[in-house]
């Protein structure tokens, strides 16, 4: 059995109220209306701390708090930052070096946005299943905005933070099933033109708000219905067998949308973390699961359905048994 042994989050710096962000003054009326009602109250601004440092900080915290020797890690899956610190060099192997995880194999996953974390969990599960002697996979990610713009209109507000998860051969928090789909039709729906700009001017742009608000929204409903039904059917479960539905942290509207579309209740953990941390990209689902694990909200034997998607576009659903 393969499961999540531990998850740790690293959010250095003090929380900043989103209403105090300078970019608020640059928004037009409709952008401001969304900005102030999307469900994010504060974000962490890590200042000069980079996405790599956030991922490393979370990984070190996890190894220390779980008493895990770095040499016992068999595989490091580094979720590539959307804005890496350098071109060309490898943050995945840098992390292996800095952690002194000399026995590990390391590589990075990218290009699926928030769903990078789902692909990482799937690969970790498959790797541990296929390798009898392997015991530990470390997944880590740092979400860092180093421009003046944290607002991704009309989606969410980005925060800074690192997450790390240790996937092991354990009977706890079993990764029972993971399904992922992608559709290249939306590949450049969101993009950031970086050439001829300084980093503080970087701003994510939605190329077609109607396509996002209509086509992608409805396709996401259809895709999630398909993969949720597939996972439930092949595990002989019904919706009523699921104790907690989790989603990544985008907006209050997104929770409302999926609750309405599927007649389910998204766990309040998600809205709570959204309000406090903002959107942490591929780190959200780890943060939400960690909250459930450590708060005692998740009880042994319960089944969790964790949905995680990205406008690039990718959809994923993970079934986990506590």
């Amino acid at each position: 059995m393969i499961g999540i042994q531990s998850i740790k989050t690293y959010t250095p710096g003090a929380p900043v109220a989103v209403l105090d962000l300078a970019e608020k003054e640059t928004l037009n009326e409709s952008e401001l209306a969304y900005f102030t009602t999307c469900g994010v109250n504060t974000i962490y601004d890590s200042g000069e701390i980079t996405s790599y440092d956030l991922a490393k900080g979370a990984s070190e915290k996890l190894l220390q708090e779980t008493g895990t020797e770095a040499n016992s890690i068999d595989l490091i899956i580094y979720l590539q930052s959307r804005m890496p610190e350098h071109f060309i060099s490898s943050e995945a192997t840098r992390l292996q070096h800095d952690l002194k995880a000399h026995q590990a194999l390391s590589f990075a996953i990218s290009n699926l946005g928030c769903a990078d974390s789902s692909m990482a969990l799937k690969l970790a599960k498959d790797f541990l299943t296929a390798n009898r002697k392997a015991n530990h996979v470390l997944i880590c990610y740092g979400n860092k905005v180093f421009s003046n713009y944290r607002f991704r209109n009309p989606v969410t507000i980005m925060g800074d933070g690192g997450v790390a998860a240790l996937i092991s051969k354990t009977a706890d928090h079993q990764l029972t099933d993971i399904q992922i789909q992608t559709n290249g039709h939306y590949w450049d729906l969101f993009k950031l033109e970086y050439r001829d700009k300084s980093a503080d001017q970087y701003k994510e742009i939605c190329s077609d708000i109607r396509k996002y608000g209509f086509e992608l929204a409805i396709e996401s409903k259809n895709r999630f219905k398909e993969i949720n039904d597939a996972i439930l059917n092949r595990n002989a479960l019904s919706k009523q067998d699921i104790s907690h539905f989790l989603l990544q942290n985008i907006s209050s509207r997104a929770y409302e949308y999926y609750q309405s579309a599927f007649d389910i209740q998204i766990s309040p953990i998600c809205a709570m973390n959204l309000a406090q941390y903002g959107h942490l990209g591929a780190g959200d689902v780890f943060l939400n699961y960690q909250t459930g694990m450590e708060s005692g909200i998740f009880q042994k034997g319960e089944k969790i359905l964790m949905m995680n998607n990205s406008p690039v576009a990718a959809w994923s659903t993970m079934l986990i048994e506590v």
């Binding site: 109607r210 396509k211 895709r223």
Partner: protein
Amino acid sequence: MEVTTQPDTKVIIKEFLQKRIGQDISFTDEEDIFKLGLVNSLFALELVVFLETTFKISIENEDLNLENFSTVNNLGAFILKKKDR
């Protein structure tokens, strides 16, 4: 109620949209409803669920061309096409 004629279909669609947009706002059958400030995912969901339940159709991913949904006329034509399949 199952509706098969385009005029009736359009009347039903327009009634639904009028309620959502507001009774005091007038719009024609050719007017782009998304330009009336209704571009958000919750409205999209509401519209799709309304169309699926009222006209007993299933809206698939390949139907998700915004043109199909942008005007009362286009919605009427889309429903007819779906019901003919």
